[in-house]
Symmetry: C2
């Protein structure tokens, strides 16, 4: 019997996160203070984050040790499996070898616990008793609530209005893990009050609300689920495992590494350890980001300084952006509806070290259902973007007889997104076109900086 799922022995599991900054050919541009337009220093971030996370945010060290308390929680669900998708390969008739790195086995059902656990741990070390955050699809809010329950912190989540309205199960799950959920825009913040109460919301607005509350409350801090360097750092546990698991599967390396990209952390977590191998000349994989056509930050945005949130409370970050007040259409992959992109992902794309492409959601759901029926895993709508692109690559390989080794990030399961699947199966899903006018208008409103 052929092995299809690869794990790691206790002695093989990563003990450190990997910091890509140490190996980049050119340094990434620093974040700027919105008032001075000078690089932000650690003090500028101290109201929002504990010192260990600030140190990680600006670190140039190649490896940063994972604290024992964090590794103990990781050990409950990690290593996540690397699965050879043989049944899907057969269905596609491809000569490609497809390996799926599956993060849906985590307590929150996605990769997000990889960073929520260390973030809460460092906050707890520093006496913080309450964390605020935003959530889009709900995966990040779930992950933070779970981590807070482990370390005894309170957790308040501003959930994007459209998601709050359409997915009551997600709110319940956050509550099961002990968190409190507010619909965003809420009446609790100035940032929220700037919008009508029934506004569908956006990640940018929800971030503004959570940041505003944390900045005001001395016992509270803020936690971000993607975009920032320290978040991407924590996610590298994914790729560190995958590099080792792929070797255990007998492969000399990956030819293609694919992930969906919303804020960028899931993709970075998988891809950066492979990028290290590429920069060191050990492997030569193409790295590929897949984003939704309705929010095509990397493929249609501009690489420039912009805010991470709608209200302009965050530092200015150099990144691909559609404009910080651009509100993407309410596609089902809520985790991909973000106007910007992690500065580190933006940098490696800008430097030509990573490619990007954009897909419409019907193609993604079709691939997801084919995957579910063969492999028995219902993908998150976000992850389905990566699978749909792999499907294209695998069919192309079938044409030429090429045998690429493809590693794809399956960032989470879609069991709380079955309403979206129902829309697809009943033929009600639209491939929402990007509003060029909306992007142009949002870009025109940007400050000229950097």
């Amino acid at each position: 019997m052929e092995q299809v799922s690869y794990t790691l022995d206790a002695s093989e599991q990563p003990t450190h996160w990997y910091n890509i900054v140490a190996d980049l050919p050119t340094p990434p541009p620093p974040p700027l203070h919105p008032a001075t337009q000078q690089p932000v220093g650690p003090d500028d971030l101290a109201a929002l984050f504990p010192p260990e996370l600030i140190a990680q945010e600006v670190s140039g060290e190649r490896y940063i040790e994972i604290p024992d308390a964090v590794r103990e929680v990781y050990a409950q669900y990690r290593p996540s499996p690397l699965i050879r998708a043989r049944r899907w390969e057969e269905k596609l008739g491809t000569s490609a070898r497809i390996y799926v790195k599956y993060e849906g086995v985590s307590p929150a059902g996605s990769h997000k616990t990889n960073t929520s656990v260390p973030q809460v741990y460092y906050n707890a070390l520093n006496g913080v008793t309450r964390l605020t955050t935003e959530t889009g699809a709900g995966q990040w809010g779930t992950a933070l609530a779970y981590a807070c329950s482990l370390f005894g912190l309170g957790c308040e989540v501003w959930q994007v209005g459209a998601s709050f309205d359409s997915k009551p199960q997600r709110r319940t799950l956050i509550e099961v893990f002990g968190g409190t959920v507010h619909r965003s825009p809420s009446r609790m913040t100035e940032a929220g009050k700037a919008f009508a109460e029934d506004h569908p919301g956006s990640l940018g607005i929800a971030i503004s609300e959570a940041v505003e509350l944390a900045a005001q409350a001395p016992e509270a801090k803020y936690a971000l689920g993607s975009v920032l360097n320290h978040v991407l750092l924590h996610q590298t546990v994914i790729g560190e495992e995958a590099v080792r698991q792929l070797a255990k599967a007998g492969e000399s390396g990956a030819d293609l590494v694919v992930g969906c990209a919303g804020g960028g952390s899931n993709l970075a977590g998988l891809a950066f350890p492979f990028l290290r191998e590429k920069l060191a000349g050990n492997q030569s994989p193409r790295l590929l980001a897949v984003e939704p056509s309705s929010c095509p930050t990397l493929t249609r945005g501009e690489y420039r300084y912009d805010f991470g949130d709608t209200a302009g409370l965050t530092p200015l970050m150099k990144m691909y952006t559609l404009g910080h007040d651009f509100v993407p259409s309410p596609i089902h992959a809520g985790g991909l509806r973000y106007h910007g992109m992690a500065p580190l992902i933006s940098h490696v794309v800008h430097e030509g070290l990573m490619e990007a492409t954009a897909l419409h959601q019907n193609e993604c759901f079709a691939a997801a259902i084919e995957f579910a029926r063969t492999q028995g895993i219902v993908p998150a709508p976000e992850s389905s973007h990566a699978l749909a692109q792999v499907r294209r690559e695998a069919l192309a390989a079938a044409e030429t007889g090429a045998e690429p080794v493809i590693v794809v990030g399956l960032s989470g399961h879609g069991l709380l997104e079955l309403g979206a699947y129902d829309s697809y199966l009943s033929g009600h899903l639209e491939d929402d076109p990007l509003s060029e006018d909306a992007v142009a208008a949002a870009m025109a409103r940007l400050p000229q900086i950097g």
Copy 2:
């Protein structure tokens, strides 16, 4: 760092299912033909099941080999993890060592794929192109639809009306896996037409409908998700793994093995390999079935011959029963709402080899939430019954300082049952009392047989 999750190497994984019948001190009473009241022969079952399953149903062989094609599917998600619930132990302040055997990692999110895969495999071998079945909570329907998608069979599922109405996500999941769902009672069968269209339904009615359709259609057969000997047989892969994993955890054996009991297959699958060890004198665990107070088959039912379905289409089986037309109250643990109990579980309980107890649902949800917040797994409402009983046992151990090794079956996750959790969290859940009158009336209607 301490290990908390135990797996098995490929060479340690079970190659055979275990048949408890070979080791029982007394043989279990045979099923009877309703017309002749004589033991049913293989021919009587041929309209519903393929020959391999009929052979397994009546087999006295101790071990039955798992076909390679089935082991290949098992390998996608098995061995399921055996998890030392250290964080929950700490929360409970117990000296008990609690090991959780977690079946929620399967494609359907429950133990049900352990039998759906071999059932579909054997049907496919025999040229069957369509399977019919019932589903209560929806887990069995999901598992059968997934297995049918793997082997290319059509799958029609009659879902208990109350569950169909309250859980549209479950229907969608079955459809994602390629199945077709009918609300039961439906207008497609005589068994269904005997009830009003808006009747909340029951497992017994849904079974009648699926059996009726399969018996009429030459290309179709019927698949049952619990109760029967061959179903329990397939589930023993759970316990076979757990016995080995517990040894890898350094334990000499279990002191207590606990599972929830609806039809009985999840409990039997975990417990029967431990019962073998007990009968052989290798270990001496207590075996304990936990059922809902609103459907207390083992603790309040009578041990006698009864039908498995409401319409009386199945053979008569000697089992604990509340009467085959008893309709339990619509508690959230839909998988436990069954009037009867697997004949093999009934037999070992009657022989004093296994104990049983019954719990109300609020206590179960409270335990489930405590478990979720510590261990990061949201249990199925069914499984929460087993956890609540473990909680009692662990707190008792804390009083005495005893250090029992407890193995508990966590039959599935509850991510599609968050509506039930919402009811609990918002204080709207009632501990529905058992209607003694309804049971007495159902029992009075039973035929006197055996």
